[in-house]
Amino acid sequence: MIKLILKKLSITFIAISFTVISSVASAEITITWPSIWVGKDSKTTVIGELIDEFNAANAGSIKVVVEEQTDYDIYAQKLTAQIATGDLPDIMTVGAQLLDVLHRSGKAMDLAPHINSDSHWNNVYPENALQSAMTDGVLSALPYELFVTPVTYNKKILKDAGYDEFPDNYDDFFKMCEAITANGKVCTSQMTGKNGWTSMLWYSQALASAGGPDIYEKGLDHPAYVKAFEVMEKMYQYTTSDAVGADAGVSGGHFLNERTAVFMNGPWFIARYTSDGIPGLHENIGVAAAPMLMGGEGSPGGYVGGRQSSLAAGKQSDPAKEEAIVKFLKWLTIPENVARLSYSSGAMFIVNADLPNDMDRLFIEMKQGISDAPYVAPIFQNGIGSLAVASEFPQALSALAIGDVTPEGAVEMLQDAE
């Protein structure tokens, strides 16, 4: 009887062992990617296609699963918390302001060893692009998306107000705003909600114009910070009544619906002028460098921008999963795939990709603008080097916009946050 029981138990044990071993052997590696390139984002379609194609090509062995993150600001906050807790996702899209924290945490996968493992990344990235992204020989994030933020304006609204060209200095710019207001339209799209993105871009332009491209090295005491807030104070006299508290959706929505004449955002917004703008909007849009502050230390035609999103991965204990993640990151950086992404969204990437000849007119104009620009200064959020100051910016700006503080007071709020 005991022998029979032992025999049956042994058979069961062997059967279970085989099942476990075979299931482990055939286990599919699942890579989770909380992605911001979903929903209304201009990269959604092609990113979705790239993931589907990757999953199909690696069916049964690797599967990339996207967790949709539709709010960029909340995504960044979530990542900050995850970096602190050490609970990083498999793949993440990291903004420039989090790169330092991510590196210091030591919780990101070091991609440097994979650069030398084969020639892919050395071939597709411009010379030194990867080396300059390393800190102490560690590559915590793969530089991916680039951006510049020139002014985009509605040529039809400007023409109706008597302007054929975009003004090159703020004195003329505000005269133009006066004329546009008299014509029953609103001059600029602004916002103070979330990270104050589109207004922060204007502030960055004014700041670089007043203090030069190296303004962030001069400290918050430099008068350029006050001068740039003076520009913003005036800018808020020519914006929509919901600008204080508005988010990027509201700010962009006004321009897309031709309620406002002037708007500032990155090249990734180009596709949305067609997909979400009122009919004919795209044809009416012009691209220009931001106006200059008379007597400032900046140069005419100067742009702001820099490195936008980088791709990073959480440290892995399983070498197979690490390989799978690297394989997917390589897939995202194949020049043909990057070209598809750029073509569909208008976004710019660091990877060398042969772009089609029929790229969007606005994309070409922006690219030309970069070539002609004497400099591309960092945006305030990335250049200031303090998450606390960048986070206080929308509050300081809203205080200024509602007349609660003077431009000097707004700078004091930033200094206080430091």
Partner: protein, 290 residues
């Protein structure tokens, strides 16, 4: 009740699981919060900084504003929302025609996601296309045509706290449930004595649900001290930090990697909550717990 000696072992055995869970999820995190509040922990490195975080916090106008705003939320809830809930509970306790419909409608906000409600109200208050401005404009108040309710210092707090009144249904349901437990004998006796409905409400119902009313005040204060989602989603503490509340403030500190200072703000919040509860318990002790 006296506990026999041989029952102590069993008692401890039954309490132990709760005690372990309570220690794991409440006591230890609070201790951790307390310790980290004396450091400059940024999520990666930490050094002991003594009371520096506390000193910096109390020197920050936005932090003091957050405490003040939280107190506004609590006072509004205690003096307006809960009494309003009491009045509605008294009216519905008459079981007049359609009372169940009213009860359900007033309770609906409790079962809807607070994020959805916040987004809905943000749209209602919007300056350009908001429903509120549209109505005001159509009834002749054209001065408010483009008024930015949530972006104006004078109206942002009022708009935020004002809309929270729709949560009156929660307290109404609690007090209404209590009225159901009052013996009909009291009302019959009052009827014989010729009492009117208002007299019955004031002299029978209200005193008998007093303990529940005070419990609702305590609950309202606790809820409003933890106020987060409406402020975060509708104003994020702006404009100019005028609508800032403690939890949003703590969240902001955490997202800029100042976890030590965020912990200090958390400790202050716990202390404030404990203080408020002690005051309320002392004031309402006889009515609430007896």
């Amino acid at each position: 009740m006296k506990i026999k000696k041989d029952e102590v072992g069993w008692l401890l055995l039954f309490i132990l699981p709760t005690l372990i869970l309570f220690t794991l999820f409440f006591i230890l995190p609070i201790l951790f919060l307390l310790v980290s509040s004396f450091t400059n922990w940024d999520g990666i490195d930490a050094e002991f900084v003594g009371f520096e975080n506390y000193i910096k916090l109390f020197n920050k106008k936005s932090f003091v504003r957050a405490i003040t705003n939280n107190l506004y939320w609590c006072i509004t809830a205690a003096l307006i929302t809960v009494p309003l809930g009491l009045i509605i509970a008294l009216l519905l306790s008459h079981r007049s025609r359609g009372w169940k419909v009213f009860r359900t409608v007033l309770f609906v906000p409790q079962v809807v996601s607070s994020a959805a409600i916040a987004m809905l109200w943000a749209a209602v208050f919007n300056a350009e296309y908001g429903l509120l401005n549209f109505i005001l404009d159509n009834i002749g108040l054209s001065n408010y045509k483009n008024h930015n309710w949530l972006g104006n210092v004078r109206t942002a707090n009022a708009a935020l706290i004002g809309f929270s009144l729709c949560y009156v249904g929660y307290f109404m349901v609690i007090m209404l449930a209590k009225t159901a437990s009052i013996s009909e004998d009291y009302y019959d006796a009052a009827k014989i004595d010729g009492a009117s409905q208002i007299q019955k409400d004031f002299y029978i119902t209200a005193p008998l649900i007093k303990s529940t009313f005070f419990l609702c005040i305590i609950l309202a204060v606790i809820f409003n001290l933890r106020q987060f989602e409406y402020v975060y989603l509708m104003t994020a503490g702006g404009p100019a930090n005028k609508t800032q509340v403690l939890v949003v403030y703590i969240w902001n500190e955490l997202t800029v990697q100042r976890l030590g200072r965020g912990s200090a703000a958390g400790v202050i919040m716990i202390a404030l909550g404990a203080m408020l509860l002690l005051i309320l318990r002392r004031t309402l002790k006889s009515e609430t717990y007896n």
